[in-house]
């Protein structure tokens, strides 16, 4: 019903055809690194060399992937052990904060929110040294729980913002009705708001999962021991080794990228919602 209008504004039919053609031309540029990774991952060690990086495998083989998995599976497990709790905890905290900031007004609430949002933008280089000292003080330096804690805390600003933007669309009357019924803040939150928040959790959860899985700086600072590191940092170590085969390195890249890529392929819609929901506007 709106298509009649929207086809008359914007570009003309002919111009749209040109635009389609140009978009098709861009496909190779946007898929090139993915092509390189996939084709190298399925090559044999003998058939894998950077001099043939543009060619498809002559012999398809899983040996690269199995060798990369052999080297990285421990780090992959470290990633899961660290990322999943960090995502759940930071989303839960963010949803409570977002609920409070969108439905209650109190003195300095805006100032507090803005002060928290600054934490989203700061270059983390500025906090590394005191952060490490703090983690040493509470005996979590060098450990996965320590890294989880860091991601939870620095995830609070963005999840708070996302949930605050999400709850703006929840009618205030719902909260008021609950308070007339005598429900306090927490009761209202757990009984009424949380059950309504599943789409918000999907969006924030996917967004945080991708961010934390892909993190590098916090990882190498909090966990200097390579065997204890999550997979993104381990891939960088693998790339720095002189002896690694091209197919194994690219298979490693595939393994490190796969969880976020799969989530993106299957739940891309929510990820894209998160991109725009997580921007201050």
């Amino acid at each position: 019903m709106t298509s009649g209008i929207s086809s008359t504004v914007g570009s003309s039919k002919r111009s749209k055809r040109v635009q389609f053609f140009l978009l098709v031309l861009l496909i190779p540029i946007f898929t090139i690194p993915f092509f390189v990774v996939l084709s190298a991952s399925f090559k044999t060690s003998q058939g894998a060399d950077v001099s043939t990086m543009w060619k498809l495998p002559k012999v398809w083989s899983l040996s690269g992937i199995s060798e990369a998995w052999h080297q990285l599976h421990g780090n992959f497990k470290n990633s899961l052990v660290m990322v999943i709790p960090a995502v759940i905890i930071s989303s839960l905290i963010g949803s409570l904060n977002g609920f409070i900031l969108s439905k209650y007004r109190f003195k300095f609430s805006n100032l507090i929110f803005t002060l928290m949002l600054v934490g989203m933008f700061i270059p983390y280089q500025t906090i590394l040294i005191p952060m490490v000292r703090f983690l040493q003080m509470i005996h979590l330096y060098g450990t996965l729980p320590g890294l989880t804690l860091v991601h939870v805390v620095y995830g609070i600003p963005i999840t708070t913002l996302m949930f605050r933007n999400y709850y703006v669309s929840v009618p205030k009357a719902l909260v008021e009705a609950a308070s007339i019924d005598g429900a306090g803040l927490f009761k209202t939150f757990f009984r009424i708001i949380l059950p309504l928040s599943i789409p918000g959790f999907v969006v924030a959860g996917i967004f945080q999962f991708t961010n934390i899985w892909n993190d590098f700086l916090f990882t190498i600072v909090v966990i200097p021991d390579p065997s204890n590191q999550p997979v993104t940092a381990a891939l960088n170590n693998l790339a720095g080794t002189q002896t690694v085969n091209w197919n194994v390195l690219m298979a490693g890249a595939l393994i490190a990228a796969l969880p976020t890529a799969l989530i993106y392929i299957f739940l891309g819609r929510y990820y894209i919602q998160g991109l725009t929901a997580g921007s201050v506007k």
């Binding site: 209008i5 504004v9 914007g10 003309s12 749209k16 635009q19 389609f20 978009l23 861009l26 496909i27 946007f30 090139i32 690194p33 390189v36 990774v37 950077v50 990086m53 409570l96 409070i100 609430s109 805006n110 100032l111 803005t114 002060l115 600054v118 933008f121 700061i122 270059p123 983390y124 280089q125 500025t126 906090i127 590394l128 040294i129 952060m131 000292r133 703090f134 805390v153 308070s179 927490f186 892909n214 993190d215 590098f216 700086l217 600072v221 993104t232 940092a233 790339a239 390195l249 490190a256 976020t260 890529a261 993106y264 891309g268 990820y271 894209i272 991109l275 921007s279 201050v280 506007k281």
Partner: protein
């Protein structure tokens, strides 16, 4: 009822406090600690020596006069300018084109945002080989006959060095030394390092999809009445985008610019995995400088001074934006 209303806000404030205190410590207290180290003479983790440097700005002076950091500032400026122009322009054009598609809309949208969902480490490792002088793009030039065509035309072989190129195009050092007080302070060739171009390409490749997503959301939020009015006025094609779409995209464009600029000023992972510091620090960045001063050279006062410099640069971009945002919500 009246009492309840008075009570409720304070419960809300109390419930927010744990998060706020945590963030306050991890952001503001930690930053203060770092600033304090940057003013110290020789702070080390083992011996907490907070004695102030003489003069107190000594580390900042050393930082500003270090040729490596001068190179980093040059690189950041070049990187940020090119990266912003490319990713915002491409993002905007992609958003317009994608919003004009019907059946292929979701496919193209997902394709262009895909790189953003992958870590800089993964893409950096791959781009490093695509822009390697002995592999990647240079091989494509060879296969496609572009190499021989080039040799035929110019008489020399085409061997692009990409990130290993030591060339810096242009030089405004003299001009800058003339304008800035304390002439002769800048010791680095202020121009465009060729080695930085592949890195800029990789960063724009990865983040133009983000810009596109923002502009797509902006285009979708243009009110239907405005579109209808445009259709009635026959403001189609270029005129529609110039006089209706672009003005309504301005708030989104500012948000995108702020986020991308802060990303660019902080860039670390991509450089670390793709090019490293480069020959003559041609691809070095403040983020790398800080990390190496702190964790390789163990020069904490200098490293923290550089990190405070990064913080100031980011705050200059982000704070006006956040303050405006805060005011907008107080009304």
């Amino acid at each position: 009822m009246a009492r309840l209303r008075k009570l409720r806000p304070s419960t809300a404030a109390l419930a927010l406090m744990p998060s706020f205190i945590l963030v306050f410590i991890f952001v503001y207290v930690f930053i203060s600690y770092t600033i304090r180290i940057s003013l110290s003479k020789n702070w080390m983790p083992g011996l907490q020596n907070f004695a102030v440097a003489k003069p107190w700005y000594k580390n900042y002076y050393n930082l500003a006069s270090s040729s490596r950091f001068q190179t980093d500032i040059r690189n950041t400026i070049i990187f940020t300018l090119f990266f912003l122009i490319i990713s915002v322009t491409v993002g905007l054009l992609l958003a317009i084109a994608v919003s004009n598609m019907y059946r292929s809309k979701v496919f193209f949208r997902n394709l262009f945002i895909m790189p953003y969902a992958v870590s800089f480490i993964v893409t950096g490792v791959v781009w490093r080989w695509i822009f390697n002088p002995v592999a990647g793009v240079n091989l494509l030039f060879k296969y496609s006959g572009f190499d021989s065509l080039y040799k035929h035309t110019y008489g020399t072989t085409l061997q692009l060095q990409w990130m290993t190129s030591p060339t810096v195009v242009g030089n405004v050092t003299k001009l800058l030394n003339h304008v800035l007080p304390g002439s002769g302070f800048i010791t680095v060739q202020m121009g465009i390092p060729i080695a930085l171009l592949p890195v800029i390409f990789a960063a724009a490749w990865q983040l133009c999809g983000f810009a596109m997503a923002m502009f797509l959301a902006g285009l979708a939020s243009i009110p239907q009445e405005l579109r209808e009015a445009a259709a009635i006025d026959r403001a189609t094609g270029f005129r529609y985008y110039r006089s209706i779409a672009l003005p309504s995209l301005m708030p989104m464009a500012i948000t995108t610019l702020v986020i991308l600029t802060s990303t660019s000023l902080k860039i670390f992972d991509l450089i670390y995995s793709m090019s490293g510091s480069g020959i003559g620090f041609a691809t070095d960045m403040p983020g790398i400088f800080v990390y190496e001063e702190m964790y390789k050279a163990l020069n904490y006062p200098l490293g923290t001074a550089a990190s405070v410099f990064m913080l100031i640069a980011v705050c200059l971009i982000v704070l006006p934006y956040l303050i405006r945002f805060n005011k907008g919500h107080e009304e």
